[in-house]
Amino acid sequence: MNEDILDRIRSLAGEALVEIKSPEDKRIYVKVKPDAVVDVARRLKDELGFDMPISAGGTDYPKKKVIELFWAIWSSTINKVLILKCEVDRDSPSIESLTSVWPGVQKFERETWELLGVDFKGHPRLKPLLLPEDWTEGYPLRKDFDLKPYRAKWGDRI
């Protein structure tokens, strides 16, 4: 679906494109190389009108040794959602922040930094958001986060 839009994204992303698909009418999944994210994002915003950030986050894949990040952006002109993705190395995850393109992703990136341990370079305010300020027990949303102490404390309900 959305072949014309996919073609335009293919041409503007160029060699940075890793994967692109549109399984349903209102969703476009685009995966790019991590060093080109800001560049592609800016062009997607300026040329295709994806202007409103609605979500961002990440998924941990310990076996593949990557963390897959995503930013979901809605377009107020064509009413579709773009899910921009990229994979970063799990051992030292670091990526350029997209707050310069979409200011609204600030809180989402801050949350991802806190819960998944991804460093967003150029982010204006990387400080604890949901967890306590003195949290030292690791990154809760990573798959290898140790739940044993919590199970010992709260029972095995989780």
Partner: protein, 380 residues
């Protein structure tokens, strides 16, 4: 320059921070509703910065869901917003249905729509009550709205067996059909509530005093609303005609005819007004859903495991659009669920407002509660 004295106010602690700026701590114990903190930097009356400190009720719902089966996950998810449980739950259930590739039967969709719209009315009533209370305008309105929620809560109890957190939606439909006598009671309640909205409008929305208190305050332009990712009635009050119910119809919304409430002012008054108008739209939607409701089963069987894949499901909750991004690896538990609630996005706009316009300290409560924020929603 204000005198650097440390003292206590009903809001909390005021302490001196460098260069004559004061840091005012609003919260974290129930600043108006919920546990959260606003750190307000002021110089006298002028507010320079508002920082929203959330996380006081962070329960790690996203992590918990990775250890629960899809059906077990219903319970933690709907505790995100107790006022608005069915809309929140629709986001989770809808995402599962998408990744499982199942369609609920049409009758279930209509029952869902009725419940969700009743919940939206309940949620908006509470928001309006809080807005009026924070404006210190007339505490009676809060009592009215609290009392007027009761008939709806009674109806929801009749239908689902609980006043809050119904767990009524399950992947594949709803748990039960409508009981006998429900529709008649609902129709009578809607007729009564329509008249109540007229009272609200007359006593409050068209009231000169309330207008003076809220008009022109906390203006979010259309451009900023989109850039900052504002959600829900707040977004529509800034002139962006986006409503998930219309733009990406789910449940029975695609088959019903209703309007999107938009205002162009983008101020606190427009946000309050938009909520009153949306309650009228909700009444309209419920009436249409009652008239057009098809017969048939209310639930289909859910397959034990989904296919590996991902989906993003968007839903319009009382506070705005919530979306659920789900990654499945083909097991009976989700691999990852990212919930992006509306309040989380609205808080960012609250933080940005003092940077774009002049805000006075006395306006801060009204300003914040015109956005109808909900800490538990943002914390997860």
């Amino acid at each position: 320059m204000t005198t650097p004295i440390k003292r206590y106010s009903p809001f909390g602690e005021i302490e001196e921070v460098g260069e004559g700026l004061f840091r005012l701590n609003v919260g974290p114990q129930h600043p108006i509703s919920g546990q959260g903190r606003f750190i307000v930097l002021t110089d006298g009356e002028r507010v320079f910065d508002i920082e929203v400190d959330i996380g006081y009720s962070h329960r790690g719902i996203e992590k918990i869901l990775e250890y629960k089966t899809f059906v077990q996950g219903i319970v933690p998810v709907e505790r995100m917003v107790m006022l608005d449980t069915s809309n929140i739950l629709m986001g989770y259930v809808g995402a599962i249905e998408k990744v499982m590739d199942i369609e609920p039967p049409p009758r279930a969709n209509y029952i869902r729509t009725i419940i969700m719209e009743m919940n939206r009315i309940v949620s908006h009533l509470y928001a309006l009550g809080l807005l009026s209370e924070s404006a210190a305008w007339n505490p009676a309105v809060f009592l009215w709205t609290t009392a007027d929620r009761e008939p709806f809560l009674d109806l929801l109890e009749m239908l689902t067996g609980a006043r809050w957190s119904y767990s009524f939606f399950v992947p594949g439909g709803v748990r039960a059909d409508i009981p006998r006598g429900f529709i008649e009671r609902l129709k009578a309640t809607l007729d009564w509530f329509e008249k109540r909205i007229e009272v609200y409008e007359e006593a409050w929305i068209y009231n000169e005093l309330f207008r003076m208190r809220t008009e022109g305050m906390g203006v979010v332009s259309r451009q900023n609303a989109i850039e900052w990712g504002l959600a829900g009635p707040n977004l529509r009050a800034s002139g962006v005609p986006y409503d998930t119910r219309k733009n990406e119809p789910y449940a029975a919304y695609g088959e019903l005819d209703f309007k999107i409430v938009t205002h162009t002012a983008g101020d606190s008054y427009a946000r309050g007004w938009a909520r009153v108008e949306e309650m009228k739209v909700s009444i309209d939607i419920i009436r249409q859903a009652i008239d057009n409701m098809p017969d048939g089963p209310v639930r289909v069987r859910m397959p034990p495991r989904p296919k590996p894949g991902e989906a993003l499901f968007r839903v319009e909750t009382g506070r705005g659009e919530m979306n659920v991004y789900i990654v499945s690896d083909g097991k009976e538990k989700p691999y990852r669920i990212k919930i992006s609630p509306a309040s989380f996005r609205n808080f960012y706009t609250i933080e940005m407002l003092p940077k774009t316009q002049e805000i006075l300290l006395a306006d801060v409560p009204v300003l914040i509660y015109s956005f109808d924020p909900w800490f538990l929603d943002a914390d997860r």
